[in-house]
Every structure is written in C-alpha cells, then in structure tokens.
Symmetry: C2
Subunit: 272 residues, 2 copies
C-alpha cells in the first residue's frame, strides 16, 4: 500500500472518530455500566462490568465473522473464537505486510486506548444516568473500535511504508534494538501538527450550526487532546513494535538469540 | 412525555441517521453479503444471507441486554431471547404509554424499514466489493436501528401525545376503526415539510467542506427521500397502529368483539 493511500485512509477515519464521539455525547455518562460487578439485573454471572460483558459478546460475534484477520482491527478481549463465517480467506501473510496474521497481536494497543477513552467519557458526556445502557455501550464500542482502527492502521501500514523508504537504516536500527532512534526516524512533528489542526477544524465544522437545545456539542479541544495524547503517540508506539517484530525475526530464532528475543519460540521466517 | 420533548428527541435523531448513512457510504456496496446463502466461508450453516445472520446475532445480544424493553427499539428478527443483563426493570407498562411492553410489537415496522434501506444502499455506496464485510454490516445495523428508532419513537410517543390532546375524538375514531380520518388527524403537512427542509440543510451542513478525495459524500436528496417515502409515512402508520391498539382494547375482549379484533385473546385492560 502506497503512503498516500494510507494517509487518505487515516484522514477519512478522523470524521468517523469525531461523529462517533458526538453520538456518544448525546447520552449520559452512565458510569454504572463500567463498574465491576455491574452485571447483575436478573442473575449474577461474573465479576465483569456490564460494559466488559457486552464488549466481549460483541467481539465474540465479530471474531466469528472474521474481523480480526485484518491488522487494523485488533481485539480488546482475549479468548475469542476462530473465524467461521465470511470474511477474508485465512492467508498466512497479507502481501502488503511483513508479518503473518497470527502475529498481529504483537502490535495490540487496545489496552491504553480503552483506558484513555474511559477517562474521556465524563469530559464529553452529560452527568448522570439515562438508563439507555445498551445504546451508550453500543456507542462506546463504535468509538473504541474507530480509535483502535486509526491507531493500528497507522502502526502497521505507516510503519511498513517508512521501512520501505529506507530499508537498510530501519533494519540496522531494529537489529540494534535502538528504539530511541527508531522513534525519532518515524516522527514528523510537522505532520502531527497538521493532523491536529485538521481534526480541530473538522470537529468545529461537523458541529457548526447544531441546535444546542436538541444536541450536545463535544468540545473540539477534547478531540484534539485525544489525538495529541493517545492516538498519535500510540500509533508511533505501534509502528515501533511492528518494525521490531518485522525486522528482527532472525534474531529471535533459537540459533541466534538477540536483545529482542522475548519470544524465543521457533517460527518460520517472515518475508522482508 | 411532553410533545416538545418528543420532537426534540426526533430532531436529534436526524444527525444520527445522516452521519450513520455517511459512514456506510465510505464502504462499497458489498452486495454479496445480502445474497441468500452467502453464509458459506468455512462451513455451511443456513440459507440466510451473511447479513441476516450477523444482524440476528447482534439483536440476540442486544435482547439479552434489555434493548427491546424500550418501545422505540423494535427488533428486526423474531425468536430473540428474554432480557438477562442490566437494562430496564421489567415493568408491565411504562407510565408514559398506554399499552404494555409485551404488546409493543403490534407496532413493529422494521420489515418495510429494512426493505427501503436495502434499496438505498446502491444509491449511496460506491459500486463493488471491498471485502470489509464485518464493517459494512456493522454500519448497516447502525443505520437500520437509527431509522427504526426514529420511526418507532415517533409512532409511540407522538401517537400518545396526539391522543392526549383530543382524547375523545381519537377514541371515537379508533372505536369506529376509521383509519382514514385517524390518518388525517395525525397529519401535519407543514410539520412534515419543515422536517424535510431541516434534514436537507443538515445533510448539506454535515458534509460541507469534506475532502472528496478522502471521503464519499451522500447526496442530501437521498436522505430527504428516505424521510419522505419511508420515515414519515411509516411513523404515521405506526401512530395509527398504536392508537388503534391503545384505544380499542375493550373491543377485542371476547365478550365484545369489534372490527379490530384480530387478537382475541383475553387481556387485562390498559390504562387510558
């Protein structure tokens, strides 16, 4: 995938994130659903929160339909079933990427995404409880998966594009485990600032002229901060994880263990 | 619920419908998922389409979480399980409405909503197949449930508000089964035109300034036509069904069967 196609896709996900956050902000915080052991209406099942239970069930279905075969769709839950219906054919490795499907979860950043989003809810949603739990959980899932898609799409595909521009430099840095220099190489401060300006402008534009007696508005700065503190840093973190995994595979083979050898199991070499 | 609160809610659902349609339009038509017997990647399960299967599984989960206890959330599928987690307490009748929860599905218009939406997909989505089936099905479900929420919220709550404004007239019309006069009484052509103008303006506003190299745009007239041909007529159809069910209950008791007596089972009288 060409870098231009990748950045187009990332740009188009900005609207998705903004409108899904705005949809969530039409409902109250409903903090009860995130509390542990909130799953207790007609019977007690687990110590999970209602939200955890709903999200697990949602991902369970999506897994059956093959969603997590795509690199940008990383699961927030573990213990999901294998794909069963439709979806992509189960290829070992997608031609655009340098690691096989079964290793995608080496680049799974859903845990910090979830944490950042749960902290954002009280900042964008009205106080209180409207009882529309199923609906607010649905919207939580839409936001979380949109943010995760943005982060992981960037991590895998921007990471791969950057590697292909300077393969020898990236290979050397990865082999030396030089994550600091890798981080510098993949950082473009000007691009980051441009993304945040564009997100701010879109968040204003998409909510301009809204009837505030009817709809709640999300402060555009909250969305910019989500990009600044979560989406952009996690995308870069994901790029580094992807590059290390992609480029140091031979170091992790039993005959030649190296500094990155945290997964010393025997594996077939990835293409590079 | 006061009519003003009801119309506020209906107005706020307009943005939801528009943005969810726009989200769907970022993906291809993917007509394969709607074809019967498309559920056949790794094993053959049923003669359902992939979409039917996914939608059923989604509603099955939502039913467990109590979604269909609310009048505006009508299921598109039959044979769903009883609520189990969270959600509303299972009251017999919500105080704002005159029929008990177990009768909500007498006002279920999901079948024509589904049909109208499936016809709309090729009008708003690019041709072809992008393989992102799980994602396009998720967005289909978001659109379908948003449209259904708009139609049924209007049917139940606008119907109830109109009845409370002129209870004797509506009672008489319902007892005579005069659906023609009922339809005239609940119709406000000026309000309908105002809604459609507002929807048109919002569909323009929400897509203004979009980068068309990155995002697809939905023709605002397609959304106006969805309101004109589907949402508004079905809401009125639902109001009539609701009023007939609400007001002719005694006619349907075994001792006094009337023209509306299509469900002659013994029932406790509804409040009125």
């Amino acid at each position: 995938m060409k870098l231009r196609a990748v950045t187009k896709k990332l740009e188009s996900l900005e609207e998705t994130i903004i409108v899904q956050l705005s949809e969530r902000a039409q409902l109250c915080r409903n903090s009860a659903v995130y509390a542990p052991e909130s799953t207790s209406c007609s019977e007690k099942i687990t110590s999970q929160s209602l939200f955890d239970l709903r999200f697990y069930q949602w991902e369970r279905s999506e897994s059956l339909f093959g969603r997590f075969l795509r690199p940008e769709e990383r699961p927030f839950n573990r213990g999901l079933p294998e794909p069963r219906y439709g979806g992509l054919p189960p290829e070992e490795t997608l031609p655009e990427l340098g690691i096989p499907i079964r290793e995608y979860d080496e680049v799974n950043l859903t845990s910090p995404i979830r944490e950042a989003y749960l902290q954002l809810i009280p900042r964008i949603c009205p106080e209180g409880d409207d009882g529309l739990y199923d609906l607010s959980m649905e919207r939580d899932i839409c936001v979380l998966t949109a943010v995760s898609r943005r982060v992981h799409f960037g991590a895998f595909y921007v990471g791969e594009c950057k590697y292909r521009q300077e393969p020898r430099i990236f290979r050397t840095l990865a082999e030396h485990g030089d994550t600091r220099e890798l981080a510098q190489r993949i950082t473009r401060k000007d691009v980051e600032e441009r993304i945040m300006s564009r997100v701010r402008a879109k968040a204003h534009r998409l909510q301009r002229g809204i009837n505030r007696r009817v709809r709640n508005v999300v402060d555009p700065e909250e969305i910019v901060q989500l990009y600044r503190k979560t989406i952009i840093p996690l995308t870069k973190e994901g790029e580094i994880r992807y590059l290390l995994r992609r480029l140091t595979d031979h170091l992790r083979r039993p005959t030649a263990r190296g500094p990155m050898d945290r997964h010393p199991k025997e594996r077939s070499p990835t293409k590079s």
